[in-house]
């Protein structure tokens, strides 16, 4: 139905096109000593003498033009403006909701960002009154929301909104968490993996950048299969030909479990 949209990020697409096996590198590993032809990209650093390029993360080595990048395999989510994430309300007061978005800070959802502005009536600046009252009675503690991040930086708490397409409260379904760096793999190149998962399991699935996956299917058997598949993708994220293998896996499992 509605849940096909993913926040598309060019940076994460690197992870997806994996035709050949890439080297696994660890922090401190020298990626190259050829500093004239290569520049340090994402997840890398030059050493003090500027003679070597060194990896900062445990990840996969990737060379793109003359940049050397390391695509991390482990790590945490850093909120960025524009991301759509799954949040859970952990606290609220009359002024704001406090939301767990799987980042270092709690996100803040102000009630003015939860209600659509009404049509303006009157003239000369009069009007513009919201149709609903501005208060924090709309959601409760423990609610699962899909929110968009309005602003985020290193110092301040991220600010959230629920106004927009696909945003708002989620009713029903299951939320699971995986490692945030592995999310691009669950989506696949141009959404190929997620389309396959949806078609084969008849489930609605919504994947967000903070490592949370919301899913809802016809029955618990399909949902269980989907959860296992997502976890399998996360554990095999660094391997080649994952989409084909997952397709075989799901078809086999369906036969084994006797679900159509």
């Amino acid at each position: 139905m509605e849940e096909s949209e993913q926040s598309e990020d060019n940076e994460f697409e690197d992870f997806e096109d994996e035709e050949s096996i890439r080297d696994v590198v660890v922090p401190g590993e020298v990626l190259t000593e050829d500093v004239k032809n290569f520049l340090p990209g994402r997840g890398t650093i030059l050493n003090k003498e500027k003679t070597k390029i060194i990896s900062l993360n445990i990840g996969l080595k990737q060379i793109k033009k003359n940049y050397i990048n390391v695509i991390p395999l482990r790590g945490f989510y850093t909120p960025r403006p524009g991301d759509k994430v799954i949040a859970m309300i952990v606290d609220k007061n009359p002024v704001k909701y406090k939301c767990d978005i799987n980042a270092k800070d709690f996100g803040q959802l102000k009630p003015k960002n939860t209600i659509k502005k009404g049509r303006t009536r009157g003239f000369r600046g009069a009007g513009g009154f919201p149709q609903e009252e501005v208060n924090t009675k709309k959601f409760d503690i423990g609610d699962i929301l899909v929110v968009k991040i309005l602003s985020a930086d290193r110092l301040n708490k991220p600010e959230l909104t629920t106004i927009g397409k696909y945003l708002g409260k989620k009713v029903g379904g299951i939320v699971i968490s995986i490692d945030p760096p592995k999310i691009p793999r669950v989506i696949g190149r141009n959404g190929s993996m997620i389309k396959m998962l949806k078609n084969l399991t008849n489930c609605n699935i919504f994947v967000t950048q903070n490592g949370r996956v919301w899913l809802k299917g016809e029955d618990i058997a399909h949902e269980r299969l989907l959860i296992e598949s997502v976890n399998k993708i996360a554990s095999e994220a660094h391997t080649v030909g994952l989409t084909d293998r997952m397709q075989d896996f799901i078809i086999n499992e369906k036969k084994k479990r006797g679900i159509e």
């Binding site: 696994v24 900062l56 445990i58 482990r74 660094h238 030909g241």
Partner: protein, 260 residues
């Protein structure tokens, strides 16, 4: 009747054939076994068996600092909690952290801190919990080694790993990797840690008697041993991923050929 056993050390710490009491050569390390990802709910974790030492480390972060007054507005902090289990040593160890635990926690934090980019995470903390389950000499070196491993497993960006080893002197002979008895009965003891980024010494403590010439020999011997330990660390971090890559890629390559 309580069992009372006095601390008695053998008079000679070398066997007749010139080897050490446990049958090692003077520059031989104890057998080392490492593993990562042992604690599911931690962000990163590692386990180390070094001779009779058995140590678990877990990493959490970046997350909010408690108590809040420890937080720094301009940078994150690294907190290390080194603890020994009550059953880790021969006499029951009191579980409350004492002077020794606090000191070792501090030196491990100071040892690893220069490798992290704490300025990127203001107001937060990375927390490393090290639990010594079984102790037999050289736990501070082993703890430093395993803490670095756990941080790398957590996906915390770091310039390189840290390795540590103790070098000592018994009966005028310089030995590498002191065991519990050698540590207590020996003449000198020098734990040393190295950061592989730029190969700088990050920890150097000393206890006993030696002269400057011996000091140089100590450092040379330690460097050789540290290289071996570093190699084991790298292999441990990589093996988990490389094994999966190889397993999954082999049948896949056959499929590719068929398609062509």
């Amino acid at each position: 009747m309580p069992l009372i056993i006095k601390d008695e050390y053998p008079e000679k710490l070398f066997r007749k054939d010139g080897k050490r009491l446990d049958g090692r050569e003077i520059n031989e390390l104890r057998p080392i076994k490492m593993d990562v990802g042992v604690i599911k709910n931690a962000d990163g974790s590692a386990y180390l068996e070094w001779g009779n030492n058995k140590i678990i480390a877990a990493v959490y972060g970046p997350r909010e600092v408690h108590p809040h007054h420890l937080a720094k507005p301009d940078r994150g902090i690294l907190r290390v909690f080194y603890r020994m289990a009550t059953f880790s040593v021969f006499d029951r160890k009191r579980p409350a952290p004492g002077r020794r635990e606090k000191e070792i926690s501090m030196i491990i934090a100071d040892c690893i801190e220069p490798l992290l980019f704490l300025e990127l995470y203001p107001g937060t903390s990375f927390e490393v919990f090290i639990e010594v389950m079984d102790a037999d000499g050289g736990t501070r070196c082993a703890s430093t080694t395993v803490a670095a491993l756990a941080l790398a497993d957590a996906g915390v960006p770091m310039k390189s790993l840290v390795s540590a080893v103790a070098v000592g002197k018994i009966d005028g002979k310089i030995i590498v990797d002191l065991s519990g008895i050698e540590d207590k009965a020996g003449d000198a003891d020098l734990p040393i840690a190295i950061t592989w980024y730029n190969e700088e010494i990050s920890l150097l403590q000393f206890d006993g008697n030696m002269d400057l010439e011996e000091m140089n020999k100590f450092l040379d011997l330690a460097y050789e041993a540290l290289k071996n330990i570093h190699q084991i660390q790298l292999d441990t971090l990589k093996s988990k991923y490389v094994k999966l890559q190889e397993e999954t890629s082999n049948p896949n390559h056959k499929n590719d050929n068929k398609g062509e």
